[in-house]
Amino acid sequence: MIDLDRVSKQYENGQPAVDEISLHVNKGEFVFVVGDSGSGKSTMIRLLLKELEPTDGIITVNGRVLNTMRHGQIPKYRRNIGVVFQDFRLLEEMSVYDNVAFAMHAVEARGREIRKRVPEVLHEVGLSEKYRSLPRQLSGGEKQRVAIARAIVNRPQILLADEPTGNLDPRNAYEIMKLIEEINNRGTTVLVVTHNKELVNEFQKRVIMMRKGTIARDVEEGGYIEA
């Protein structure tokens, strides 16, 4: 599903953010990517989103080589990837409903389809009641639920989450991770970048630990501490 073959990314300041990493993630897998700040976790997410170009190596997602992908093909590629960020990145002036519907409009879904699917997804993330609220009227946990709803509304094959619980209290963090696990149980491949040791230990999934741009450890069903 996701293949990184000796991938490097060097920024202009010279220090490689990601240094010759190779990695394979199977379809339907749930992977935690952990490590200190600056270890290259977020760069990896950005490379997978084709927000950044690798300096070296080959990235293959869903059988498509990202290195050779043209600018015009990127939107279609991204529609198969749901993405969630630590800072939610919601459109502040749009209601909860519109934030989620926006992702469907972006893929030019039919109006009828949008009207059916958006309430469905809001129900899944437990926000049916708040569909008219603006992001500023929501709690951190609720905002992240909206972001998750937006990420999965187009039924992507992959969900990338960059520190999805970073701004949340432990209870909300746990609930968000449970929600992501449920999405994974329905067949979506999930890659979660996190600092949250408790959650990693609690969920017992595959853990990739990064250090200074390289993969220091890669264990199946491991925990943060054990790894």
Partner: protein, 302 residues
């Protein structure tokens, strides 16, 4: 693109205006000021140009003939003059008509004086009045007429022609310079306003791109917004200008009676705006569209 998507994007464009009230108001105000100044200057230019053309048309040359010339020969000269390039009008004034005009001009107050002349004292004053299309072409036409058989004398107001020709050139240069400066200033001011508006929405654009929106989809609401702001920023100053222009024309005609007596020296608002409206609309829409297109482009590379 689906029709529903198109309507969605147009709706988003309208919503963007509401969401960014300050930016929208600043853009419209900038555009209104620019188009208003442009329109005001354009109205002055077009009026001055009308006066200039009017004068140009009235500055003709008078051609007199040798003594004893026959009517047929005069007619042949007339045909030859008409065939010269740039000649637009050739009017014949017979000796008798010339005398009648002279009498009206000089003996109107005392007609009995004119009766003292038994024969026409202007017997050899039959003439052609020749008008040319461009004042600059007058000297060339005069030279050609001078070479024609049977032409005794040509009267031209060479000073007036020269002055008008140089005024023409100066006026053209100034007009072009002022319009170019105004256009550059407008484009800079408006793209600045649009840039500021869009810079605050850079995050929004990057979110759209990461979700998988195409460049067209991201750009469309901004373009719709640009068009709407462009339209408002054009129509508003045009309406103000129309009212001010009409008021000013009335005021000038009332205060300076001679302007009315001179005929159509001041153009009516209808004629001015028939030209100004399409130019201003193209300009306003163009600036709105161009500003939105270019500035969004800078932020699309996500």
């Amino acid at each position: 693109m689906r029709l529903s998507s198109l309507f969605y994007l147009i709706r988003q464009g309208f919503k963007n205006i509401g969401r960014n009230k300050m930016f929208s108001a600043a853009s419209v105000a900038t555009m209104t000021a620019c188009i208003f100044i442009f329109g005001a200057f354009f109205s002055i230019i077009i009026n001055v140009d009308t006066v200039r053309r009017d004068l140009e048309e009235k500055v003709g040359v008078t051609v007199f003939f040798n003594e004893g010339i026959t009517d047929e020969e005069i007619q042949a000269i007339g045909e030859e003059i008409k065939a010269i390039d740039h000649v637009t009008e050739v009017t014949f004034t017979s000796a008798d008509e010339a005398w009648e005009i002279y009498k009206q001009e000089h003996f109107a107050s005392n007609p009995s004086l004119a009766e003292g002349f038994k024969d026409n004292p202007l017997a050899n004053s039959a003439s052609y009045t020749v008008l040319v299309d461009r004042i600059e072409a007058q000297q060339g036409v005069v030279d050609k007429i001078g070479k024609l058989e049977g032409v005794r004398q040509i009267n031209q107001s060479s000073g007036a022609a020269r002055n008008l020709a140089s005024f023409n050139r100066l006026f053209t240069y100034i007009s072009i310079a002022v319009i170019v400066i105004l256009l550059i200033v407008s484009i800079i001011l408006i793209s600045n306003a649009v840039s500021m508006g869009i810079a605050t929405r850079r995050d929004e654009i990057s979110i759209m791109k990461l979700i998988g929106a195409t460049d067209t989809f991201v750009r469309a609401p901004f373009v719709v917004e640009g068009i709407i702001l462009g339209l408002i920023g054009t129509i508003l100053p045009l309406v103000i200008l129309y009212v001010v222009y009409n008021w000013l024309v009335r005021l000038l005609l009332m205060r300076f009676g001679f302007l009315g007596e001179m005929g159509n020296v001041l153009m009516n608002a209808g004629s001015v705006f028939a030209v100004l409206v399409p130019i201003a609309l193209v300009l306003g829409l163009g600036i709105g569209l161009f500003g939105a297109w270019v500035t969004v482009r800078k932020h699309l590379d996500v």
